[in-house]
Amino acid sequence: MNDEQILEIINTRFAGRVRDVSHPHARRIFFAADPKDLPAVIAGLKEAVPGMWYIATISGVDLGETFEIVYHFGHDNGAVNIKTRVPKAAPHIESITSIIPGAVLYERELQDMFGMTIERIPDPRPLITPEDWPAGNFPLRKDWTFERVPEVIPGGKK
C-alpha cells in the first residue's frame, strides 16, 4: 500500500479526528490526533493498512508545558508517525497494548523517562531505572539535570 492510498485512508476514514497530516518525505507520513481518539485511530489504521503493521517505537519529547508523544509505526511500504500531546501537569495516556501487544516496552520506557502515566498498561513496573531510583526523577525531562553525588570515602581521602 503506497503513501497516497494511506493518506487517502487517513483523510477520509478519520476526518475530524486527525489534523496536521503531512508527507514531508517519501514513505514518511506524519499526523496528529487527540489522546482520547488515539486508540481508535490506531486500531482503525491497523485494520485498514494490511500487511506488516507494527510499532517501531514510541518517542517522547519534552516541549516545556506539554509532552509530545510520537508513535512510529512501520508497514510494508514505509512508516506512519502519529503525534499526540498531553499536558505536563497531568501526563496521562491510554495504553495501546490491547491493540499492539509489542508496545509494552516502549510505554514502560515513557513512564521511566518522562514520568507519564500509562493507563491500563499490563506491566507498570519500571523498565530501565533501578528499584532504588529516587521518586520524581525523570531523566529525559528538559528540566532534569544530573548531579553526581559527591564521593565520600570512609576515613577521609589520603
Partner: protein, 400 residues
C-alpha cells in the same frame, strides 16, 4: 510446584548484563520476566548536550558490533534535516561498510550459535573466517570495531583500486566458506537435531509482538527495511529478502547464512559499479527546526532514530531504538514452555546486543589501564603526522 530461578545479570551464559527470571515447573519454563537497565547510561540525554558532529561519535559507541549501523542511521537522518545530499561515491562506500559489518556480525552470530549448541569446531571455523572480513574493515577504515567512517555529508575515507581488488578476493573466500557452512547448518544431523524445534515463535506472535530482523524473518514475516523502506540506493540493489518458515532456531540460522550470500552479492555489485567523484560534501553547522524518522536495517533488525532539530547546532531530541529491544517480547514467548537447557541457545538466537538496547556509552579501558591527559592540539599534531606517513593516500582532499 513452581520455582523461580534467576539468570543474570551476571551469568556464564550471558555475555552482557541482563536479568532473566524464569518460573519453572521441573525442567519446563512457564514464565519469563526480563529486567533491563544494568547497562543504561543515558545516551539520549547526553546527545541533547552535544552538537551534530559530536553525536556521530556518541552514536558510534552505542554498540560494539553494529557501530556503523547506528552512525549510518543517525547521519542519514541528519543529512535530511540539513538538506544536503552526499555524493554518490560516498554513499556507496558507506553502505559497502554496512554490508561488510552485516557479514561480520552474522559470522559472529553463527559462531555463537555453534558454541551454544555444543558444536565448538563450527564456532572456531566461523570465527577464523570472520577475521577475513575484520581485516577488510580494518583496511578500509583503519579500525576493527569503531570504523568512524561516517561524517555528515559522506564518508571520511576513500577506497582505491588495490583495496577494491582485495575486498573482492576476500568476498570470494567468504562465499566459498559460507556455502560450506550452509551445507553443515542444513545437513549435519547433530547440529540440526539440536536447533530444530527449539525456541518456537509463530508467525502470528512475531507479528503481534513486533519482532524485527532475522528473528521475524525466520518466522515467515517478510520484514526488512532494505526492501520495505529502502534507504539510499537499496531499491536498485540486486538482492532477495530471505525468510524461513520453520519458526525456530534452525530457521534463524538458515536465514542468517542465506543473508550472508545476499550481502556478498550487494558488496560485489557496489564495488563493480562504484562511481567516481568526491566522497563527502561540506555540511552546515546548524539544522533548521524539523524532524526526521531514520530507519536502517542493522544486522539484528530495524534500527530507528527519531531526530528532532531546533535550529541550533544541537539536536532537540534523539531517540534511538535498537533492534534487540524490539525482540525482547518475542524472546519471552520463545522461552515459554521451553527447557532450561535451551535458554542460552534461544536467547543467543535473537543475537542480543544489550548495550545497544540500553543505549550506553561503552568505554573499553586501554590494556595498560594507565590514564594520561593529552591536549587537543597535541592530538591534532599526532593525527597530522600519522596521516602524512600513511601509505595508501585517499585521492580526495578532506573537505571539512
Amino acid at each position: 510446584m513452581k520455582f523461580q530461578i534467576p539468570i543474570g545479570p551476571q551469568h556464564p551464559a550471558l555475555k552482557e548484563p541482563i536479568s532473566l527470571r524464569m518460573t519453572v515447573e521441573g525442567e519446563v519454563i512457564r514464565d519469563v520476566d526480563i529486567r533491563l537497565g544494568y547497562n543504561h547510561r543515558g545516551l539520549e540525554k547526553l546527545a541533547e548536550q552535544r552538537n551534530w558532529t559530536q553525536n556521530i561519535y556518541l552514536t558510534e559507541r552505542i554498540c560494539g558490533i553494529c557501530s556503523h549501523s547506528h552512525t549510518t542511521c543517525y547521519v542519514q537522518g541528519v543529512e535530511k534535516l540539513m538538506e544536503i545530499e552526499p555524493p554518490r561515491r560516498g554513499v556507496y562506500i558507506r553502505y559497502l561498510v554496512s554490508e561488510l559489518e552485516r557479514i561480520h556480525s552474522h559470522l559472529l552470530w553463527l559462531g555463537i550459535a555453534g558454541h551454544e549448541a555444543g558444536f565448538d569446531s563450527f564456532f572456531m571455523y566461523t570465527w577464523r573466517d570472520r577475521e577475513v572480513v575484520m581485516d577488510l574493515l580494518e583496511m578500509i577504515s583503519g579500525n576493527r570495531v569503531h570504523y568512524a567512517m561516517n561524517t555528515i555529508g559522506g564518508v571520511r575515507r576513500d577506497v582505491d583500486t588495490a583495496l577494491i581488488q582485495k575486498i573482492l578476493d576476500g568476498i570470494k573466500i567468504l562465499r566459498e566458506r559460507s556455502e560450506f557452512y550452509f551445507k553443515i547448518g542444513a545437513n549435519e544431523p547433530t547440529f540440526v537435531g539440536r536447533l530444530a524445534g527449539v525456541g518456537y515463535l509463530s508467525k502470528e506472535n512475531a507479528l503481534a509482538l513486533c519482532a524485527v530482523g532475522p528473528t521475524a524473518r525466520a518466522s515467515g514475516v517478510a520484514r526488512d527495511v532494505r526492501k520495505n523502506d529502502p534507504h539510499a540506493f537499496y531499491d536498485e540493489m540486486p538482492f532477495d529478502l530471505i525468510t524461513a518458515d520453520s519458526c525456530d532456531v534452525l530457521g534463524r540460522t538458515v536465514v542468517r547464512i542465506k543473508e550472508l550470500m545476499e550481502s556478498y552479492k550487494i558488496c560485489e555489485h557496489l564495488l563493480k559499479t562504484l562511481p567516481s567523484g568526491d566522497i563527502a560534501v561540506k555540511a552546515p553547522k546548524k539544522a533548521k527546526p524539523n524532524e526526521f524518522v531514520s530507519r536502517y536495517e542493522a544486522p539484528r533488525g530495524e534500527n530507528i532514530h527519531y531526530i528532532k532539530s531546533n535550529g541550533t547546532d544541537k539536536p532537540e531530541r534523539l531517540k534511538v531504538r535498537a533492534p534487540t529491544l524490539a525482540n525482547y517480547p518475542a524472546t519471552i514467548e520463545m522461552l515459554r514452555n521451553g527447557f532450561i537447557a535451551d535458554i542460552p541457545l534461544i536467547f543467543a538466537a535473537i543475537d542480543p546486543c544489550i548495550c545497544c538496547a540500553e543505549r550506553t556509552v561503552e568505554l573499553v579501558n586501554a590494556r595498560s589501564g594507565e590514564e594520561s591527559v593529552v591536549r587537543f592540539s597535541d592530538l591534532r599534531t599526532l593525527a597530522a603526522k600519522r596521516a602524512s606517513n600513511r601509505t595508501a593516500k585517499g585521492n580526495v582532499p578532506w573537505p571539512l
